[in-house]
Amino acid sequence: MKSKIVWFITIIICFLLQCTILNLISIGSITPNLMLILTVSMGLMRGRKMGLWTGFFSGLLVDLFYGSLFGFYALIYMYIGFFSGYAHRIYYDDDIKVPMVLAAVGDILYNFAVYGLQFLLRGRLGLHTYLFRIILPEAAYTVFLTLIVYRVFRFINYRFMDIARKESESMWVIK
């Protein structure tokens, strides 16, 4: 129960920071995607289900306040959380390189999903501009931010939340 409360508060705090503080540190009007980092790291540290729920609620908050289609961002974040959950079975979460790679891939996928579903379908064809103006800079900045905040998330996970039983999901252990 306690870990659920901590988890939920973490999501809300990340959303608040994303909408306020992160806009202040944006470079060239590009803001890093903190909620994506949270989703990816929860998937990595606690498995597919937790990644899925984290992504769902992060996306839902975005949808509630800023989305035009209710459920759109929830869907995208949810899938990213779910797939980063596969890394939970393969990697240990004490190596900073894994979440960095996951954040980069996740952010690029997320932006391609937004572009493909909301811009391309309205006939905006300038992928080249969008790729070099938004998608790649955002991915780079997000990876940089991962370096800093992943340790915080990991601390929260081990200090305030129940231990996620890695063995139960691992395919290497015979049950």
Binding site: I21, L52, F56, V62, L69, G71, A74, L75, M78, F119
Partner: protein, 296 residues
């Protein structure tokens, strides 16, 4: 008894991929529902706003405090020279001011004579402060710290000092979200001032960096519209009140159909550093209804 207890403590324990399928279905149905019918998520928004908005307001206030302290640490020498400069300016300005006061009196008199009230000085306005921006980089929507308690409603127009900023899309008791006109999904019906030709202004993400907007479907057979032409919101717009200033024409191009023209507009509003805005609390639909009822 034990059986009963087991029944009560029954928990749904789905496999993660089944959970994913269920939640996907849920999200897709939500998307379809909002897309098809515009189903209102207002109660959910209000509940979430109750939790989130107070924090956003306080974070914003802390940010302001920080910027104030940063400014107070400015170099002393800089301040002294600035002071001297300002003193000179005051002298100049008092002189100018005296002249302007005279002009103002004249203006007032003339206004009364010609009954030429400035078009949008009359609209009731509410000042608001931007407290947060949308989390992504694709769209340009922001949240302000006033809501339905201050008389703000959906479709209210938002302006900043010099021109049109956007339109209110969602509103809660103490907050409202605004979609700016540079947002890629925004479009505004507008007209040129000199010739009253109609056109449509759309935001374009590819032009945002240059602070420009795109205009389309300008029907101008006599080639009167040139760079520098003023563009305002049109009289036939459904959601924007008439005569709000949008920007100056930057360049004009003939479309391949030889009938209409497209081009770009420069907006006077600095969207990058926007902090305070004014919300016009009258909707276009209100004024239409009012006129209809007064005619009856």
């Amino acid at each position: 008894m034990k059986n009963l207890k087991r029944k009560i403590h029954f928990r749904i324990n789905l496999k993660s991929k089944h959970l994913l399928a269920v939640m996907t279905l849920f999200c897709v149905s939500c998307i379809v529902a909002t897309f098809a019918s515009g189903a209102a998520t207002a109660p959910l928004q209000e509940a979430a706003g109750l939790v989130v908005v107070p924090f956003e307001k306080s974070i914003n206030r802390i940010g302001q405090l920080l910027s104030v302290t940063r400014q107070s640490l400015k170099d002393k020498q800089e301040l002294i020279s600035a002071n001297e400069e300002l003193q000179n300016q005051i002298d100049n300005l008092t002189q100018q001011n005296n002249k302007l006061i005279q002009d103002q009196g004249e203006l007032l008199r003339l206004r009364e004579l010609y009954k030429l009230d400035a078009e949008y000085a009359d609209y009731p306005k509410v000042a608001a402060r931007i407290i947060s921006k949308d989390p992504g980089n694709w769209y340009d929507t922001f949240m302000i710290n006033k809501g339905s308690n201050d008389g703000i409603r959906v479709d209210n127009n938002v302006i900043a000092g010099k021109g049109l900023v956007g339109i209110v899309t969602e509103v809660g008791p103490g907050w409202a979200t605004v979609r700016s006109i540079i947002d890629d999904s925004s479009s505004v019906s507008a007209m040129t001032v000199s010739t009253s030709d109609n056109c449509v202004i759309t935001g374009d993400l590819e032009l945002i960096d240059e602070g420009k907007l795109r205009f389309e479907q300008l029907y101008d057979q006599e080639n009167k519209v040139t760079a520098g032409e003023r563009i305002v919101t049109s009289n036939i717009s459904e959601k924007y009140v008439e005569g709000l200033f949008i920007g100056y024409v930057n360049d004009v191009e003939q479309d391949s159909n030889n009938l209409t023209k497209t081009g770009t507009i420069v907006t006077p509003v600095d969207f990058q550093h926007l902090k305070d805005v004014f919300v016009i609390t009258v909707n276009k639909q209100d004024s239409i209804q009012q006129e209809a009822s007064s005619e009856e």
